[in-house]
């Protein structure tokens, strides 16, 4: 078992923030390189007719090829992550209506705009009008769902 620690000191807290930021940046660069920030490309992938562009299927394949084995190694080798006392992984296994309806609604929005949440944030930060409009609406949609759940 490798050593684990949860930090209290300033240096450790700074490291935890820097590494979370680095993960976000790497994620964003991956989205840009893969073409996920180009709505026309995403729609060309989802639109199976005519000149179908299947290349974006490789984005998920490439990500899973890295994440599936390495996440297993981490979970086996460590009792806890570097900067937290425990792993926070989903435990639900039931299939319910919310999951199905939510996924269906998300898919409609994705197919319509050609952007999902990550690429939307990257595009907005790049100053794209589409990205800014999309993310603003997305946050409203999220808030609406949170309010709807609490009601």
């Amino acid at each position: 078992m490798s050593t684990s620690f949860v930090c209290g000191g300033l240096r450790c807290r700074v490291m935890s923030i820097v590494l979370a930021g680095l993960a976000g940046t790497a994620f964003g660069v991956g989205l840009v390189l893969s073409g996920m920030t180009t709505p026309a490309k995403v729609i060309g992938f989802l639109d199976l007719r005519g000149a179908w562009d299947p290349s974006l299927g490789l984005v998920m394949a490439g990500a899973i090829a890295v994440y599936a084995p390495l996440s297993r190694v981490i979970r086996r080798a460590r009792r806890q992550p570097w900067f937290d006392g425990t792993f926070h992984l989903p435990t639900r296994r039931d299939l319910d209506g919310k999951l199905a309806v939510g996924a269906a609604i998300f898919g409609i929005g994705w197919g319509l705009g050609g952007l999902c949440p990550g690429p939307g944030v990257v595009a907005a930060a790049a100053g794209s009008e589409t990205g800014l409009l999309f993310v603003a609406a997305m946050l409203v949609g999220m808030l609406a769902q949170h309010g709807w759940v609490r009601r």
Partner: protein
């Protein structure tokens, strides 16, 4: 293999590596809708890593705007359609508990049945919508 396939695979691998880093350091699933949605009210206590991750994501966007602005594609839809798309994506991802990253990358990697169902559904409705709305 055309260059767009290599970029898709390489970009995907980098996304996977970023998700690995977040799991190793913070023990979290790199699901963008969850990371962002949980920054909205009701506010969680663990805002630090979430804000840092989103800031990192934004930094990638800023860098792209400076180095390769053409990589951020313009919309192929009207502004009204973009707003409707954003509303649906925001509402749907929170209701369904994830998006392309959380369900698609992390969930499928964990062989989660919930994620497999979610991905099958959003791929289907996404394809149907893209085809109905047209490629342009």
């Amino acid at each position: 293999m055309s260059s767009s396939w290599i970029f898709a695979l390489g970009g995907g691998a980098l996304i996977g590596a970023a998700a690995v880093l977040l799991l190793l350091t913070h023990g979290r699933i790199a699901g963008i809708s969850g990371v962002i949605g949980s920054l909205l009210p009701p506010l969680p206590s663990d805002r630090g890593w979430r804000l840092a991750f989103v800031a990192g994501l934004a930094l990638a966007g800023l860098g792209t705007a400076l180095i390769a602005p053409s990589a951020i594609g313009a919309s192929v839809r009207s502004s009204t359609a973009v707003v409707i798309a954003g509303l649906l994506v925001g509402f749907g991802t929170r209701l369904g508990g994830g998006c392309t990253s959380g369900h698609g990358v992390c969930g499928l990697s964990r062989l989660s049945a919930r994620s497999l169902v979610a991905v099958a559904i959003f791929m289907t409705t996404g394809a149907a919508t893209a085809m109905i709305a047209g490629a342009s």
